[in-house]
């Protein structure tokens, strides 16, 4: 295990405190990792009402399994793996109807309307700002249309700057598979965005 992936002394200290019964240390762990967990939950679970229960479930599982954490990865990576597996179980159990993709039309509509409003108010902004905003809208839409695993990998790699090794630890997929999914996801995104942008430009 290399140093960038391995545990750090702060993680060990926090885990030791939690194991001694200090719940404040667990609150710190939650604060430190909840954004990462949110990224995974939002990408994998399209039902907004279930995310709250799932998030709690993830941290309760983390708490109960903490004694078994062997520090072979970063604590955040380990918690992300619990989040990924919990979401996977949720998908298996609920079997949400996914129209070949994974997005909330309503949420997207609101988001899109809000963005459109911002966009229409930006008539005095420079051309590049308008282009950037427009691209952000298209990108969000296209990312949401990707399969859940692609969304998750793309977000963790490009947004959370995680390495292939960390993604392997989180998903349990071989590194080659992770790389190939990321390659396909980027290619798909690039092509979809280009075709969409060209259509809108016409």
């Amino acid at each position: 295990m290399n140093d960038t992936i391995g545990n750090n002394p702060k993680d060990k200290h926090l885990v030791d405190r939690v194991l001694r019964g200090d719940t404040r240390a667990f609150a710190i762990i939650i604060k430190n990792t909840e954004n990462l967990v949110a990224q995974i939950v939002f990408k994998m679970v399209p039902v907004a009402e279930d995310r709250k229960d799932l998030a709690q479930d993830i941290y309760l599982k983390t708490f109960h399994s903490l004694a078994g954490f062997k520090f072979q990865s970063k604590l955040s990576t380990w918690i992300a793996r619990i989040a990924y597996n919990t979401c996977l179980s949720w998908i298996e159990k609920k079997k949400p109807v996914l129209p070949g993709n994974f997005y909330e039309p309503e949420a997207w509509q609101n988001h899109s309307t809000e963005n459109q409003r911002q966009y229409s108010g930006a008539t005095n902004a420079s051309e590049s700002q308008v282009f950037h905003k427009e691209l952000t809208i298209i990108l969000k839409n296209e990312v949401d249309k990707l399969p859940a695993i692609y969304q998750t990998l793309i977000t963790l790699f490009h947004h959370e700057s995680m390495s292939y090794e960390e993604l392997t630890q989180i998903t349990g997929l071989p590194e080659g598979t992770v790389k190939s999914h990321l390659f396909r996801a980027r290619k798909m995104l690039k092509e979809n965005i280009l075709s969409k942008y060209k259509k809108e430009a016409l």
């Binding site: 001694r20 019964g21 609150a27 949110a38 709690q56 691209l135 990108l139 859940a148 995104l189 690039k190």
Partner: protein, 152 residues
């Protein structure tokens, strides 16, 4: 310098980690307008992905989780005691007969017909195969659920 255009995968690798690309590939990409266009497209895509607003929970997760945590336990927990007891019990169940009947154990299997041993090995193999198939089926199910077969 290579004349043929690099594959899409190589373009992505160039954008992600130029330093690890072969010199030929770098020279081609940097002198080819079509490849530069591809590279710019990916640069733009990656920078937009980096800036995409992050998803955040709209509730106080800490306030929800902390009250649900069990209070700290003192001394040995019941689970650990039961686990320890079962381990000792299992060791005794195996260890005592082995110790008492050690001399006879070696002769235990000598009178068993060969076909019976084959039957045991065969049925174990069948169970193993069934288990592996079950795991594989479960894996395939998960892959389907995650839309791995998605095609744009």
């Amino acid at each position: 310098m290579t004349n043929s255009h690099p594959k899409e995968k190589e373009i992505q690798e160039y954008v992600l980690d130029r330093a690890s690309c072969p010199a030929d590939l770098i020279r081609h990409i940097e002198s080819c307008a079509a490849c530069q266009e591809e590279v710019n497209g990916y640069h733009l895509l990656f920078s937009e992905l980096k800036q995409e607003p992050a998803s955040r929970f709209d509730f106080d997760l800490t306030a929800l989780v902390i009250p649900q945590l069990p209070s700290p336990k003192t001394g040995m927990s019941t689970d650990r005691f039961i686990f320890g007891f079962l381990v000792v019990f299992a060791c005794l169940c195996i260890g005592v007969p082995v110790y008492v009947f050690w001399q006879n154990i070696l002769y235990m299997f000598s009178d068993i017909p060969v076909y019976f041993i084959y039957a045991i090995i065969g049925s174990s193999a069948v169970i193993l195969v069934i288990k592996i198939l079950g795991l594989f089926k479960k894996y395939q199910g998960q892959m389907r659920i995650l839309n791995f077969n998605y095609s744009a």
